[in-house]
């Protein structure tokens, strides 16, 4: 067990920005750098600082636009910190924020921009599969990989497709109020059941969308945050990692413990996070849980102790994750309905909730949990707190 706690509320989020949200492949002609540069400029505008003041960059998932390029583009006089999180997809997002928070809290950098840009060209779709239909089976798409965990969870705990559907229905319901969301049509359980089966038990509406866009969040020390344009949002805690023998996890690991198999692989992260922040699940007012596939939200709710193991399905069926419920989840619409930018937009919405500017504002929101993707090693999570 680590002691944790040192980082608690020493760093803050002071700005965020993004590009337009495009459909998969829409920004191929524009290029990746252009997306990230625009996102950084927008985030700096939000924070009330110049991009020249950014002296640190952190990213993940082998983001192609490097810190050197960005520092050059903005004429930064002094680059002090760069960090890239191992791991593909939206899992290492939590870690990228942890690096940024540590860098500013320790004084190694003043302003760290966490960046991520996605252009899903036909040959680089995260959804996999793609061009050819291979002759022999094996796991070819993330949907297939995660459906293995979904099936196992159904088998052990009696989780139902109705529970998965509720996650999708909730996302669309929230996105209906969000003008930036790409999928704003509300859906019913009948719509869910009518959607195409992709990898039994997962249907089309269990899968998140594919999309293009750039995103940036500015992190600075809690001290420096006091003098900036926006009301700062404190990083109360951060954690990253993976369970024992997790490796590539559900993507092609399959040999972690049986309990971690039927999970989002975030049990140990949750324990570290709560300890680091000095909080527990009862302190969380709103949760942003990475929703690439609906069952992973249910398993994430269990890993982060909102429901006992195996009872995540009944928890969502009770209406708990709706805006009116005891734990509103993904009030922006998430990957399922707003946009898919590897979790950056979940951080955005956490910040909005604590600034009081969400389109689905939860009254009295003081603490937001942001959970990165269930993914190959490492995943991660953040606890954000409103400044008093």
């Amino acid at each position: 067990m680590t002691e944790g706690g040192w980082l608690r509320e020493r760093a803050a989020i002071v700005g965020f920005g993004h590009t337009a949200y495009g459909r998969r492949g829409e920004f191929i002609g524009r290029g990746h750098r252009s997306l990230v540069v625009e996102a950084v400029k927008n985030a700096c505008e939000d924070a009330g600082i110049s991009p020249r003041e950014i002296d640190g960059y952190a990213s993940y998932s082998d983001d192609p636009t490097g810190a050197g390029e960005l520092a050059c583009a903005f004429g930064a006089p002094h680059l002090r910190f760069t960090a890239m999180g191992w791991g593909g997809g939206g899992g290492a997002m939590g870690g990228a924020f942890m690096y940024a928070a540590m860098a500013v809290a320790t004084g190694q950098a003043n302003f760290v921009a966490v960046t991520r840009g996605i252009i899903q060209a036909p040959e680089s779709r995260f959804g996999g599969g793609g061009k050819a239909v291979p002759k022999f089976p094996g796991l070819q798409t993330p949907g297939q990989c995660f459906s293995l965990a979904a099936r196992r969870h159904m088998h052990i705990y009696g989780t139902k497709v109705e529970h998965f559907a509720e996650v999708a229905i909730n996302a669309r319901r929230n996105a209906a109020n969000n003008p930036e969301a790409r999928f704003r049509e509300p859906i019913t359980f009948e719509d869910y059941q009518a959607s195409r089966m992709i990898c039994d038990p997962l249907r089309l509406l269990d899968h998140c969308m594919e999309s293009d866009g750039g995103a940036c969040v500015i992190v600075t020390s809690a001290e420096r945050a006091k003098d900036l344009r926006q009301k700062a949002v404190l990083i109360a805690g951060a954690a990253m990692g993976a369970p024992r023998r997790y490796g590539h996890g559900l993507i092609d690991g399959n040999n972690m413990s049986a309990e971690d198999f039927a999970s989002a692989g975030q049990r140990s992260i949750a324990e570290d996070l709560y300890r680091n922040a000095g909080m527990g699940p009862n302190d969380v007012d709103v949760a942003m849980i990475y929703d690439h596939f609906t069952p992973m939200v249910i398993m994430g709710l269990e890993d982060f102790q909102f429901a006992p193991k195996g009872e995540g399905g009944p928890f969502v069926a009770s209406g708990a994750i709706r805006r009116e419920g005891k734990l509103p989840v993904n009030t922006h619409g998430g990957n399922l309905a707003e946009v898919y930018l590897h979790g950056m937009t979940h951080v955005f919405e956490g910040v909005r909730q604590l600034r009081g500017t969400s389109v689905n504002q939860i009254p009295g929101a003081e603490v937001v949990l942001v959970v990165a993707g269930a993914s190959p090693t490492p995943s991660g999570a953040l606890l954000l707190r409103k400044t008093s």
């Binding site: 599969g129 002759k135 297939q144 039994d200 997962l202 040999n255």
Partner: protein, 152 residues
């Protein structure tokens, strides 16, 4: 015979390479083999850089009984497979040392409504070419002779 590398590259995970050749060649002999630690006998799957139990790096491919149970599975629904309904199944093997070993393959000769978690299965080898076969699974039914399907 001449090995058709391109064709063999179409093999399911873990794919055909110098590294995994013993696995496919053993299958061609009708044997399921799993890497086993030369230091402590633990079966190591997936083949990580060292034995998780004793940290030895040396290993040998070692035959296992070829029975197990379905741990979990999915069906390939979209895009539809060209040759009919097909599942992807994780099987937990019998007769291994250490933590449970789970391998990825599929179950042949089974309807969708019949495939279930915890179902007992046994190995069967799909002929691929003169020296390589693909280990797949069928519902365990001791004593029955299965007609071996051949991949075209």
């Amino acid at each position: 015979m001449t090995v058709d590398i391109e064709r063999r590259n179409m093999l399911p995970s873990p794919g055909w390479s110098e590294h995994t050749k013993p696995y496919w060649l053993a299958a061609g002999r009708g044997e399921l083999v799993i890497p086993r630690c030369d230091g402590c006998g633990t079966h190591r799957w997936p083949l990580d850089a060292a034995c998780y139990a004793c940290h030895a790096t040396e290993f040998s491919w070692s035959q296992v009984p070829g029975t197990g149970r379905v741990f979990t599975f999915t069906w390939v629904d979209f895009p539809p497979p060209p040759d009919g309904e097909r599942n992807i199944t994780v099987v937990e093997l019998d007769g291994t040392q250490g933590e449970p070993v789970r391998v990825l393959s599929w179950v042949v000769g089974i309807q969708r409504e019949s495939l279930a978690c915890d179902q007992p299965v046994e190995i069967v080898f799909l002929t691929f070419d003169d020296e390589v076969s693909i280990p797949v699974w069928r519902p365990r039914r001791s004593g029955l002779k299965l007609q071996m399907p051949t991949l075209g």
